[in-house]
Amino acid sequence: MSTPPSEPGTLFVPGRPASGPKELYITDSSGNVQRAVSVAPAGSADTAAASAATRTDPGFFRSLVKALNPLRQQTRTASAMSGLGIAALALDVAATLNLGNPFLFYDRREVWKEMGGRLESGRSDIWFSYFQDVSPNWKGQAADLLGRRVRFNTTVLYEKLHGVTGEMSGAMHSQFKEVLEYDLSVFGLYAASAPVLRTLAAMSAHPAGRVALISQAGVFVSALGNLVKQFADIYMAYESDLNKMEQKLNDVRAAFYHQGDPARGRRDLTLTPAVAERANIHDYWQPANRDLR
């Protein structure tokens, strides 16, 4: 795409994207638009996050609870008859309470991954737009200012944000995996134990059956206790990871807000509007090939 030299394209500089088309037009030193880069509107990130968050739940968790509940009732009856009584019933409640919907974490993983992708593509667009289109064609104070801004400000901030999105996506994936594994382990244990316990409960009128029921209930409760304890340990380990992530997010917040406090207002990260001031535009923006002409 190009425009006649008499109709220069609009140089759409970062920091002034509030109005007009949501595209960054890149011109050469003759004012011809070389290409246009799409600039996402401010609200698009939130919209994308919301759309990912409302992604259809495959119904795994509901199906799991639906299948698990009858098995729970059978094991609760047998446990109550075994002599383990309220201890086993309390552990059943704890194990069930700790079940989670792994797809909540899956969705969050996807949201952070999508954000990371958008951030990196935005950074690359800015980087390549400057070094392929602006830097070879323009010089002057504004071009230098823009260059410093791209190298030391925009890139650094984008990389910080991109780092956080990568780690958050990884943390969400790990939690998705752990929650899914716990859910399947608990279900597997109940599915394997419930028929045996139900049969032994029916035989418990006989002393031998009663002893067998007590032994089997003890094995079941011990295995369930180990599962719950392991999951609690994993949960604590992820709490530690998330605490580290919170510290990194505080660092990012400090880069964007005065004293890292949103209440104190945003830092002024915009490029000065003077770079596009018409009175000085020929001093600030000089075609790189002007000396050659």
Partner: protein
């Protein structure tokens, strides 16, 4: 059993504490069964001629036969008396186990929870579209 009570009432408690309490309960029950299995329990047939001794686990340890039974009982009656004695000894084992379990649950002050405390949550989840 503080954490046990918390979970049985549908409240959240300390999971590690609950697991410790449950393991303590399982350990106590295993000790009880072990102690019972080492006990020797006797049973006598209806005529009183034969006495059987079994372990708490039901294994036969020995028989005592009254010398008079050798004179009074023929081989069929003797067989029935032995079976009766062993059955009585094993029955006593069951009674001993039942009594021990009653004492065990009484020691822990078990009051069975009324139904499943998670039932409302499960029903609500299953009603969701």
């Amino acid at each position: 059993m503080r954490n046990t009570a918390a979970f049985n009432e549908g409240r959240e408690g300390d999971v590690a504490g609950l697991v410790r309490e449950v393991q303590g309960r399982v350990g106590a029950l295993a000790d009880l069964l072990h102690t019972l299995s080492e006990e020797v329990i006797e049973g006598t047939d209806a005529t009183g001629a034969v006495t059987a001794r079994v372990t708490g686990a039901g294994h036969l340890l020995g028989l005592s036969i009254d010398p008079r039974a050798m004179r009074d009982l023929d081989h069929v009656a003797m067989s029935a008396a032995i079976q009766g004695a062993i059955g009585a000894a094993r029955g006593a084992t069951g009674e001993r186990l039942t009594k021990a379990m009653e004492e065990f649950t009484a020691d822990f002050g078990d009051a069975p929870p009324s139904g499943d405390p998670l039932a409302p949550y499960v029903q609500a989840l299953l009603r969701e579209e």
